[in-house]
């Protein structure tokens, strides 16, 4: 055992941070996206005087509280872990990027206050719109906290707004630090993919009920509404994804090059799909799209794309990010296919969106969307290795040197296991006990 096992706090810090983030982003995504759908449903319900939509908002909100609870506690965990596991990094970050971190807690505060009010004031106001208005700060707060925390992450990918000399940070401009070139595409991508994923998750719930034979208007309305929203966000994702690629080509060419196994700087660069990398950096079994990479990077088939040869090998990201990226794009392709098929069926005169295979696909889309988010983050984070602050601080320099990180890893793994299982059980029990039919019947009386 002792031969295989060596204690290295850097490795364990990285593992523990990835574990916490991987678990947290599931709930964070739901936290950002679902309030929008709750708000839209309640708004439609009030406008059309349609109780189905009001009930949708109510039931989503009830489940949402459970996911928020897990989101809050894991968010607190990652917030503290940043200082516990990456003390040297946070020391530098405190000087340069504390402002958006601080503003994130305000956004979170704002959201927490109004969510509490919203949940506990159904039926308390004579005017239904007042209650709806309470949700606006929740949507804004959750969106803003995603915005600010993504700004911090963008800064880590492309730090700006200060001068760095001999290990010291000077001339800090906090506003400029927030406006990293990585910021616009990252923020747009994070928000949009959260809205898309939540649309698909809520659609999957409706599709699942329909598949199980609960054919009532409530689920039908839910399915149509969420899938149409998802379709809109899907289109937005395509545009933003393209922007992200162009950002990489301009500002983080080494990440793009590692992703696409583009070893030598060249014009007319091809895009590599799939494939297996050999020891000598040649690629086997890949599908090559001529000019693909040049088009992706600069919208010009003749454009020159910087290759890994421009960077010292110790600054390369692990080359397996290519596999992660391809898997992510594969998952995205599946999502595009599912949403488009659904919309075509919906728009076609003779279309039938309640076919069993289509419903099954919609159910499958939810976990696929979540997996895409996980893959996207793994790609983004591993792709900037070996840096924790690109060009300034290596990940290994930022990590703690304390003992017992390995033990903490085990403890947190157990914690997330318990939280995940319990949250799922509580959610399932909650909706099994309160059937839609019963609640609808209650209303009709």
């Amino acid at each position: 055992m002792s031969l295989l096992y060596t204690y290295d706090p850097v490795i364990f810090s990285r593992l523990l941070t990835s574990l916490t983030l991987a678990f947290h982003i599931i709930f964070a995504t739901i936290g950002v996206g679902v309030p929008l759908y709750i708000g839209l449903a309640e708004w439609i319900g009030i406008r059309k005087k349609d109780f189905h939509y009001i009930l949708l908002a109510r039931r989503w909100a009830r489940g949402y509280v459970i996911t928020v609870a897990v989101g809050v506690v894991t968010g607190t965990a990652i917030g503290l872990q940043l200082s516990l596991l990456w003390p040297s990094f946070m020391q530098v970050a405190g000087h340069s990027i504390a402002l958006p971190l601080f503003m994130e807690t305000f956004a979170f505060f704002f959201e927490a206050i109004f969510l509490g009010i919203y949940i506990y004031t159904w039926d308390r106001f004579k005017n239904a719109k007042v209650h709806l208005l309470l949700l606006i700060p929740v949507v804004i707060g959750s969106g803003a906290s995603a915005l600010f925390i993504t700004i911090v992450n963008a800064f880590m990918n492309y730090p700006v707004g200060f001068t760095y000399e001999n290990g010291l940070i000077t001339d800090v401009n906090p506003i400029h630090a927030m406006l990293s070139p990585a910021m616009p595409s990252k923020v747009a991508h994070v928000l949009d993919s959260a809205y898309l994923t939540c649309g698909l998750v809520l659609a999957a719930i409706a599709a699942f009920a329909l598949l199980k034979g609960q054919h009532n208007t409530y689920h039908r309305k839910a399915l149509k509404f969420t899938m149409v929203c998802s379709f809109v966000f899907m289109i937005a994702t395509a545009i933003i994804g393209d922007l992200s690629g162009k950002y990489l080509a301009l500002y983080q060419p080494e990440k793009l090059a590692a992703t696409e196994w583009h070893f030598e700087t060249s014009t007319h660069a091809p895009l590599i799909l799939g494939g297996v990398l050999q020891e000598d950096h040649t690629v086997k079994y890949a599908l090559e799209i001529p000019y693909g990479l040049s088009i992706l990077a600069f919208s010009n088939p003749a454009a020159e794309v910087v290759g890994l040869d421009q960077f010292p090998e110790e600054h390369w990201a692990p080359l397996w990010v290519h596999y992660i990226f391809d898997m992510k794009m594969g998952l995205v392709a599946m999502l595009v296919l599912i949403t488009f098929t659904f919309i075509v069926e919906l728009a076609r005169k003779r279309g039938n969106i309640y076919r069993r295979w289509l419903l099954a696909l919609v159910v499958a889309a939810a976990p696929i969307a979540m997996l895409t988010i996980e893959h996207g983050w793994i790609f983004s984070e591993v792709g900037r290795q070996p840096w924790i602050l690109r060009g300034i601080m290596k990940t290994a320099e930022g990590a703690t040197r304390s003992d017992h990180v390995d033990l903490m890893l085990v403890l947190f793994f157990l914690l997330y296991l318990i939280l995940g299982v319990s949250a799922a059980r509580v959610l399932m029990r909650m909706f099994k006990r309160n059937k839609v039919e019963d609640e609808l019947a209650l209303y009709k009386q």
Partner: protein, 338 residues
Amino acid sequence: MISYELIGISVLWLFLYGYLIVASIDFGSGFFAFYARLTKQDHLINRLISRYLSPVWEITNVFLVFFFVGIVGFFPDTAYYYGSALLVPGSIAIILLAIRGSFYAFENYGSKDNIVYLFLYGASGLLIPASLSVALTLSEGGFIIANGESVNLDYMALFTSPLSWMIVILAIVSVLFISGTFLAFYASRAEDAPALRLMRKFALFWSTPTIIAALTAFIYLSQHNERHYQNMMDLWWLLALSVSFFMLAMWLLYKGRRYGLAFISVMLQFFCAFFAYGIGHYPYILDPYISIQSGATHESMGVALVAAFIGGLCLLIPSIILVFKLFLFNVDYVKGKK
């Protein structure tokens, strides 16, 4: 012109005080709920507790997040020293907070009446203040081994120090005292006589250990950190005020009237003591590694943080007032009619 780092630390200290009060109410009520279940008195107070806590538990949590993000922002060196040294107690606190927060939500919004949840909820309520108070102990100095590359907590020194144990005990008993007084006040607003009787008993019971623990911790502090002790002695009038507020609260609780005023006195009692402690700590955040001046962030960042803080407060204060109006001071809601 007051310096930005002084504004920063004052604001953060104020927020830590805010957390101390709201979290104490939360942590203590968890223990009371569990204890009441064990002694079959839960029908008396559980509804009261959950009516208050449900809309605000998330807000309580944010106070803590706010504090630790703020202190890293204003004083980045704290991330390095406290972050390195507190890995184990900090992680334990996170795990307990996570279990507590999520299981509170599971129990309250999901499946009711699970005794295991209630036990986790009650037990963690006492362990969290204990694990968090390690940070306070640490700040006194003498519990950190810093050599060149690494900073580690000196567990031997920590576990054998009477001061650190006294701070833990003080944290736990004050949690129960603050929470008991608040719930007595809340019960009186709800005009819930049986709950009020029970909570008044709890509040009175925990008052004595609180004041004894406070005095004992003070004596141990004089042995551990002479400078801090002397500074606090210079602020004797603040400590005297604190004791007077304590006496006032005791008197009101004993007489069984004006529970609102009693709770305010308890808040002021802790306010005076907490600020005497904090001001006496000046200029160190971590004795002797981080002082307020040497550890502060760049001026531009400090000014930006203060600006963000003012902007944020403009949003927060009206929102918190709204929460108070809707839940805390809305008699119909408190009584359970809404």
